[in-house]
Assembly symmetry: D2
Homo-oligomer: 429 residues x 4
């Protein structure tokens, strides 16, 4: 039995590869839909190992011809005219891209190719020879999941249950504890928006959760409290983006978050002209690891004055004597910490975010928002008093401010290495 | 006043080009949406000539660097490994493609870029240096207007009027004479299906009109007769595809028709299991021009027997004595033509379609359907007795048969130069 | 053959009547749907005469029992308590109403009963014994077509063609001359709204056409001119209701127009806060007939001063010498009429509308709008220069003004016999 | 403060009553919408006691005039012609009905009136003078919630969460234990259908849950087991209606269940032609109470043979020695009960259902299904082993069979007092 199954799978592997070859080499494209269907249905019959063989075939068999590439490159270098350029473009694009485009002609093809990459990504580290396949998939996904093609939809309590279920499942920042918790997050003073692709209409690709509140929130607890009271629309002054989560690992590297945040901000501004401030309430993953590791800011060296301040702060914390996890276990809590400790942590965090973000190893959340053109607005003490919050950032949370008028300028400056921050942050330095 | 306007336009041109440069060179992509909007809004202010300048800029400024291309091509030729391949792909793809992808991030961007190409195509013949821009647009459109992304919708009398209006406007094969004519074509024994793109939801891209009838139709007149009686569904045996029209010139070269016909055939087969035959009723544009021009079949030479038959047929027609348009003016009509004439025309048509189609200058309609995997099924005398029909094909029309089981094989054989035809056609040869 | 058909019809008639009897007398209601279906399908097989017999049966067989009625009425008169009241209500309601309600349980039943009444209404004048059936249908329709159940939808160029077709067909005030004419009336500066019933979703029941313009329109010509320019939304100050048409004769006597106009006005006020004025541009059917007939205002007598004015105006017109149709044929036109004639007609019209409206024979359009709470705002010279307009009202048209703040008060005053009119109208008196 | 509120409420009460009087007495109906809105908004401000006063006013102030009623009844008794009949109908219908119809003209009015009755029903027993108001509301609801007006929608996992939430909340037969439980009941081998009214589109009025299975289910446990395996559609032979629940107490007495079951059965038959059997799996509320009370069948007396059998069965159960709840507490369970006990209970149940159902106190579930035209098909031992199941029916459950061909005949026979049952049931007697 097992042998028969194995034989069938071997047959499926060669069928899938053959169909791929045929789909691509065939002059014209008259039957691409049926051939692509053949590839996808054979692929589904493969076992884990055979799938790798299939990827192997895709990654190696559909490459441009080196000799031909060289020749057209020489032609183009000699005479960079229209004809030679078009020739170059035709010859150097890996035929694999056209192959993937043709598979995508099938209804539901996009979903399958995304699932393929989701799988591929898991094995990539061990199989570097598969990188070209991943590269081409990513290249095409950037085109196919272009924000111009995506639909932004509000997700609320009138949304279909199978969509809501995916929101519960994929919330990555502040876990949703069942349907009642979700319900609170979808009340009239909360918003959840997601991007959908027309071809994957039941799959939220990425979603963001927003609280509409009177003032900038400094702590996550009240925002996700199931029993918190609903704020009246007349009091909406600030939109706090408190969570953003990707749902589809197969889209790794396809940037969606930046576009979603900005589209949501524009949308909310129109719905509630009273909203004046758009701000995040963001976690600080890695901050305490960096502190524990010595608060090393890396190259180039910073001023001796700054070094002194950092060392002083480290001394106050004195993490060598009693490790951070031990302190938490012994009951360390922001509400009972000394003023000295608080100042030390806040100061270290200010250096961490202003100086370290643009250096090797800098905080990814900070990079994301500052790179989008946001400004470092405020560091919040006792922002997240959950276990996770204490452990990773000693309860600190950060507000990044999106000033829609200035994001273009700030982004520009950030790309030149400058972190834009507010006065209160500068006073910590 | 005119000077001020001109100055403003000049400013718009340089702004559009600057925004394009900035959109692309900008590290990161944080503000692509607002920059792309800037490009599109400046573009709209340009006059005809400036638009050409803008295309010129797009076609020449965003090309790969010849020296760098040569270097990565040499690396890849020397060592065609994953790293070098990825490098090659990155370097050789014209940056223009990424530029167009970024413009496409705007909501409504796709529509604008398609409109741009619609315009570009008109001037292309006189401006060959713009070909690379056209090439890249076409390349991206093939990906963006992938049949997997398109929605097929039935168009009927319950469709929105602004969609129906476009059907009336774009019907290219058998003109629709107003709303009453359209209405007949949307009755229960007629079908009209169109492809739509999610980003252009009010724009049918291509549509096909189908008649559901008991037997293969040999003449177009009864099918488009406004006053014809409706056929009862119990008698639906044959689906006759009697018209297929593109609506969007900006998508030139993006093949949609083949996919639409096959998706419609599958769909109808499911809706009416009684449908056994899927066939076209197609015009023969150019046939009489070819006959008048001497029925030259081109290279390679055909058998002397065939040559003799053709010459005999030409003699019977004797088109030198009285030109074809004159004969029509004098009342030539298939119902009063001699049996000899009829035979001569049918025979010439058989050679025209079986031999000439795969040669230089062959009939485009025949190429399209045979290339899709259809079979040449029947040549119909008195198929189209309209003025246009008499003039272009002496009333002849053709049925191409789509046998869903065999289209793959037939397509394959056609790509190797073989025209598949039925016995009745072979008897004409 | 004819005899067989007749026999079958006779059988259908008795079947329909039997099913009706059974549907009603059956204890419980377990099978009302199938029995109601039987009634409707047999009914459809009846010829004209038999339908009348069927109505006859409905109108006479399902009446309350006179003796029983008398008894419960006596009980109730003696002791008007809850028990006796409920008994009274049960016994006196004609069982026919319950019968119609049970027929209405069928999906699509409403449509059939409405169609039945459409037919019934045509024969009612000759068959007064059918009035109780008509009365009960009307009584139920008022409940079933309650404005609270109706959906108001905008009809525009994106509406389904089969809905638009019905708008063309039913426009009763200013005929729509084909699809191009319709199209102009659905442009962004025009609105068309209709009421739909959830059970008859493809049937507009009543619709109103509105023009959004800078100022109150005094003439219909420019509003329905196919080639008129579209007004920019920034200039929308006034909504002119220029046409209101019923589509369903079967709903005669079910008042919908009043509700539609007010719902549309509220809706537009919300969409365009810049709209300050809601006004009709209405025809004056019957006005010239009244003038020709002597401008008789009926009882009670009016002041001698007014009588004098009217007589003077009639003398100026001197309609005895040359009849009104003859004058029009001879080219009478408001642009060439004398100032004296104009004044006479305007003055007569003012009396006609202010005094005559609340008397026997008063203008139905005026009654409708004033009864809705509108105010007589302006009488327009040269408002309608079409043949029909000249003939029925010597080109005069009327603006009735809906002041949403005052309609309740004005309606109240109108129900007490007072016509509310503007200063310019009062100056004509 | 409290005094001010009280004063405001008193004012609201008199306002609501005044508006009601005005809404009705007003000649014409021009402003019914705004007046009805006034009634509803004032009503909302009333406290509990004032609401009763409001109902009191509705129930007593809007009655037909006894003297006038008597007069028209005498006219009609003397001469029952069309004119007198119409007069009778006009005079005897309580004006309250017209009042409620006018309130219903408001968008959302239906919902408010239904809510009013929901409240009214709770106090009705103590306030019999309010019955006429309840009677009229019920009378109108039968018309407004006519099955012909209702939309049947499938409820599944793609339905909006706020609808699903109501299903969880209102399931009255087999409680739904949270979202996971619900999810199982919406899998592809389960169906849930609900009736919706176009005016209350977010409110399921009544819903039925169905299991699609190979054979008639005799036990509820496996059907509602969250972890049960899904049945493949190829095995669907039987549709088991295992739960039907009303969601709206305000619709008490408006029969919907019968129509829903039959529409669902027709719908499923079309979707799955393989479905041959439509059957319920129903509880037996009250059965053990009846047994404990002595299994009294009431009038008329039954045969002495039957009486003997019943007594024998009661003797075997010997419920006097140890009460039924005690036995259950001591671990009584159908799987360990003696064969004798089982036979005794089954036999008693057969008498209970066949003889007692049509007598005073008969089982309401049996009456409902048999009254719909179903047949008593099978009594199931160990059908419901939940605590509630053991207590109310010693684990017995019943299948009622809906044979769509015969329901009309069976219903008819049931209305004449006959219970239709299968052979296996007859063998128990």
């Amino acid at each position: 039995m097992a042998i028969l199954k194995k034989l069938a799978q071997v047959r499926s592997l060669s069928r899938a590869i053959n169909a791929a070859t045929k789909l691509l080499t065939e002059r014209g494209e008259a039957n691409s839909v049926s051939m692509a269907n053949e590839i996808l249905s054979q692929y589904k019959l493969l076992n884990e190992e055979q799938k790798l063989s299939f990827y192997q075939a895709l990654a190696t068999k559909f490459n441009p011809d080196p000799a031909l590439v060289l020749q057209v490159a020489q032609d183009y270098a000699r005479e960079p005219n229209a004809k030679n350029l078009i020739q170059l473009t035709k010859v150097t694009e890996p035929p694999r891209q056209e192959l993937l485009r043709r598979i995508n002609r099938v209804e539901g093809g996009t979903k399958e190719i995304v699932a393929m990459r989701r799988h591929l990504i898991k094995v990539l580290a061990k199989k570097p020879e598969l990188y070209p396949l991943d590269f081409d998939m990513h290249h095409l996904f950037v085109s196919w999941f272009n924000p111009g093609f995506l639909k932004m939809h509000r997700v609320d309590w009138e949304s279909p249950a199978h969509i809501l279920e995916k929101i519960i499942q994929h919330e990555a920042v502040h876990e949703i504890d069942g349907w009642d918790d979700l319900r609170r997050r979808l009340q009239p003073d909360r918003r959840c928006f997601a991007f959908f692709h027309p071809q994957l209409k039941d799959e939220p690709l990425i979603f963001v959760e927003v609280a509409l509140v009177p003032e900038i929130s400094g702590a996550i607890g009240p925002l996700v409290d199931k029993k918190s009271e609903t704020v009246n629309p007349s009091q909406f002054k600030t939109a706090v983006f408190y969570s953003i989560s990707n749902c589809e690992p197969g889209l790794k590297g396809v940037s969606l978050g930046n576009f979603l945040i900005k589209r949501v901000a524009s949308y909310l501004k129109e719905e509630f002209p009273s909203l004046k401030t758009f701000v995040t309430l963001s976690p600080l993953p890695g901050f305490m690891d960096w502190v524990i590791g010595g608060a090393n800011l890396g190259e180039p060296a910073i001023s001796s004055q700054a070094t002194e301040k950092i060392n002083k702060a480290l001394n106050i914390l004195n993490l060598k004597e009693k490790s951070w996890p031990e302190r938490i276990s012994s009951g360390w809590h922001p509400t009972t910490a000394s003023e000295e400790e608080k100042n030390a942590l806040m100061q270290l965090c200010a250096y961490y975010l202003t100086t370290f973000t643009v250096r090797k190893g800098g905080n990814p959340v900070a990079k994301f928002h500052l790179g989008n053109g946001a400004k470092l607005h405020r560091i919040n003490w006792a922002g997240d008093v959950s276990k996770k919050g204490l452990k990773q950032s000693a309860s600190l949370m950060v507000n990044y401010l999106y000033d829609l008028e200035k994001i273009e300028e700030y982004h520009e400056r950030f790309t030149h290495g400058e972190v834009i921050y507010s006065k209160p942050v500068s006073q910590l330095l």
